[in-house]
Symmetry: C2
Subunit: 225 residues, 2 copies
DNA sequence: TGAATGGTATGAAGATTCTCATTATCGAAG
DNA sequence: CTTCGATAATGAGAATCTTCATACCATTCA
């Protein structure tokens, strides 16, 4: 589940990010209107948290643009002022929910869940890139029309990449996200090399249209070929 | 790290509990003065979150009793009213910090960390029961005077038990805490049986004074023998 | 262009973890 | 006290994951 936070108060943004990441969401952040729009033109997020008060424009405009772009995904408005007009206008423009600051983080989490549940009406949740399609919950993997299997670590790895297609992924990111606390700062990444090797072997064996490219000195990137 | 929450507002208590558990603390809760005192007489917690306004007495009294009991561990006062008197009195009575509602959860987390850091001045952090002593951070294990080693899962298992000595631990608790999401609701617990077996073999080989007892139909319990 | 350096890849060995089939144990019911 | 169904324990084997030694490749600098 990918969530985009558009919020200019950086410390609050940080709190949101950490909370959501603890809940295992994949989080991206944008500090302003422009960055938010840029990110949205590139990717589709499962949920967007949009602050109304942005330094470079009113968030409601962004909402209008999104509507034009016919982007799917849920959107929750966050607003410092608890104004009825904003709320009504926001919901009219297609927002799924409205939350006035300050709010409890637990409140936000439950809103996110309910909004996403509502929008999927219990449907399938797949993440895909190229001809590879992955269900984070059922662990199903489809390559073209054939179903495939992976071991746990290989699956985690593939999911992590496929949720960030075409992005640079460092080894320390992988270590922290997939191996956890004890591996987030080690002196060698042999265990990653080993799993990357295995996953690559699978992808080519499956004739997947995607591959894990190395970026020398930086990490890896999932690309379409 | 074990934390005790003494708080009568149950929904708020729940929010705290969930947040702290996400941060990997071991959390216990008490809804009132009496229960809190009872729990404190049994165990020593690394940190206590104490609400001042309790249905059956003022939390400051509990603080006085704790002082008499010479309990170690950090204590953070939580108060609905941001009253200077409470704050001063609480800190005088040995509380380590004071937090007025409402507060951001991230704020609480950072206070907890700083308070605990301050109180241990970077010292060793061991959890022990019987002649077994475990360091959750360095993964050191001491049985009497000899240092021992365990595999990762075995260590996690031992730590989980030793943090809850003499308490009933169900298999689903273990599955969720040690194996995570994917194993929290499965139809067989063979993987737990296997690890329990290995851990038991180690404990007896080490002449540990503790053992994992089975509780038929319920789970396990770490006892001293 | 050609070392030299450090990052990355690989197969195989080793360790750990899980699964399976089987056996043992418990507690309730007769 | 015995039997029976359910729960738990066990050893062995399979699958998975990590480590190791070695080979390969990209970049830099002479």
């Amino acid at each position: 589940m990918k969530i985009l936070i558009i919020e200019d108060d950086l410390s609050f943004q940080e709190i949101l990010r950490r909370t959501l990441e603890q809940e295992r969401y994949i989080v991206e952040v944008a500090p302003d209107y422009r960055t938010g729009l840029f990110k949205l033109s590139d990717y589709t997020y499962d949920c967007i948290l949009l602050d109304i008060n942005l330094p470079d424009g009113n968030g409601l405009n962004l909402l209008r643009e999104l509507k034009e772009m016919k982007k799917t995904g849920s959107l929750i408005i966050i607003s410092a002022r608890d104004s009825i007009e904003d709320k009504v206008e926001g919901l009219d423009l297609g927002a799924d929910d409205y939350l006035a600051k300050p709010f409890h983080l637990a409140e936000l989490l439950s809103r996110i869940k309910s909004v996403m549940r509502r929008n999927n009406h219990g449907g399938e949740q797949y993440v895909s890139y190229g001809n590879v399609k992955v269900n984070p919950h059922t662990f199903d993997i489809w390559v073209g029309d054939t179903k495939q299997e992976l071991s746990r670590k290989e699956f985690d790895l593939l999911l992590y990449f496929i949720q960030r297609p075409n992005r640079l992924v460092s080894k320390s990111m992988l270590a922290e996200a997939i191996w956890g606390d004890h591996f987030d700062d080690v002196d060698n990444y042999d265990f990653i090399y080993a799993q990357i090797k295995n996953l690559r072997k699978r992808l080519t064996a499956w004739n997947a249209s995607i591959e894990i490219a190395s970026v020398y000195g930086m990490g890896y990137k999932l690309i379409e070929n």
